[in-house]
Symmetry: C2
Subunit: 248 residues, 2 copies
């Protein structure tokens, strides 16, 4: 059986993620949610021909900070963590990537962060150059990409507020609410169960906290019956309470 940590990975493809058919766009579960949503059928198969299917196991690395950025990725299933390391080992996770997310918005020479898989992961991989050339012929795709980048920028600024001006409890609550919203886009059911494919350490490195503090805040919220801690996730029992903390 699969590791518990991947139990919630959604959306899982019903077809084998390695077969060519599964990565073909018309069967892609996240097409409408990703950059591909901006493309017509003809353009889609054009893009499809540029893509190479990528399949990684948990903890495998997609790319590393400061490396030449040779690829861009569109995640089709699984999740990843994006992070920067300081010379002395301190780590800041700048984001978690979920299915439908595009990695390589920056189109910069070198990667500004590292990325590795939290769970088994599949993605469409493109050569950065080929993708950039394709982009030059598709202004509406560029527009889509730009709107994604704008959205990411806005999320990054929200994260600045969280990191700079919120308490530990508020940080954890904001994290849960933010993640819930992102899962909700992906899953048809508006679940109150939030999959947490990342470790407590990862959450801490995302929120500027230690593992212990994350653990303590989660148990506190659980003790107050605001959440229920379940294997590889949490269930929101008192959504209003958590939302209140998050936007305080």
């Amino acid at each position: 059986m699969a590791s518990p940590r991947e139990a919630f990975s959604v959306p899982a493809l019903s077809l084998c993620p390695n077969s060519k058919a599964a990565v073909h766009c018309d069967q892609c579960r996240v097409r409408s949610l990703s950059i591909c949503g901006a493309l017509e059928s003809g353009e889609l198969s054009e893009l499809d021909r540029l893509s190479r299917p990528l399949s990684l196991g948990a903890r495998e690395t997609m790319f590393e900070q400061d490396e030449l950025a040779e690829s861009v990725f569109n995640i089709t299933s699984g999740s990843a963590r994006l992070y920067r390391l300081l010379p002395d080992g301190r780590r800041q996770i700048v984001g978690f990537a979920l299915p439908g997310d595009f990695l390589g918005l920056a189109l910069t020479e070198r990667n500004t962060f590292s990325a590795d898989a939290l769970t088994p992961l599949t993605a469409c991989q493109f050569s950065r150059n080929a993708f950039s050339d394709f982009l030059d012929t598709k202004p509406h795709l560029l527009r889509k990409l730009h709107s994604l980048a704008s959205h990411e920028l806005s999320l990054a600024q929200e994260q600045m507020v969280i990191l700079g001006r919120r308490t530990a409890e508020e940080k954890v609550a904001a994290f849960l609410i933010g993640l819930r919203k992102r899962w909700a886009r992906l899953s048809t059911s508006s679940s109150v169960t939030i999959p947490l494919p990342m470790t407590r350490q990862d959450i801490g490195d995302f929120l500027g906290l230690t593992v212990e503090t994350v653990s303590r805040m989660l148990t506190r919220l659980a003790r107050e019956k605001a959440i229920l801690i379940v294997p590889d996730g949490v269930r929101l029992l008192d959504v209003a309470r958590i939302e209140g903390l998050a936007e305080m």
Copy 2:
């Protein structure tokens, strides 16, 4: 005489900033540094016809968070602070805007942050719709805008590292180095004097610190002869020391 806090405002236009001539693009000091650098002479005057000169005094507001975003701006002189407020009054400054900076990258329905002038400020103001339409006819401008947004995103992620994983002293050092780099792009002289048009409170709200801590860290650095505190700025005495702290 001008207020000391604006003593360093660069680049000041030699012509009156209110006259039509002064905002005309061929005399614009920051043209090559801003989005306008992506445009040919003909396109430039086309864009110029869409622009309205804006002139604000210190502390005057450009736009507010959650308002409908009706304009985008290109700052030609002076500086501004961009911030989000929490319901209880806590504030996070998400960035400082300097001459050449473009506000409105997001092209979102509503502003995701507020902006007000730190010093007297001039800008080219565009109707968001008119600008967006213009953008549709100029793919290379969109590309420029996207590359700016990418760069902003990268800066935002760097700021996350600073907010989440650095000590107070490192934060202040990183702030000085980051600002120094931005001023350096603008001024021809590679000055070691860094203008600080913002208050200590602003710096604190940018770095996730209190005024007192910012003040203490600056005095500590000054006591160690790493910097010299001058009116409305600091002079770097030991650049290597500050850089070391900043990238640690």
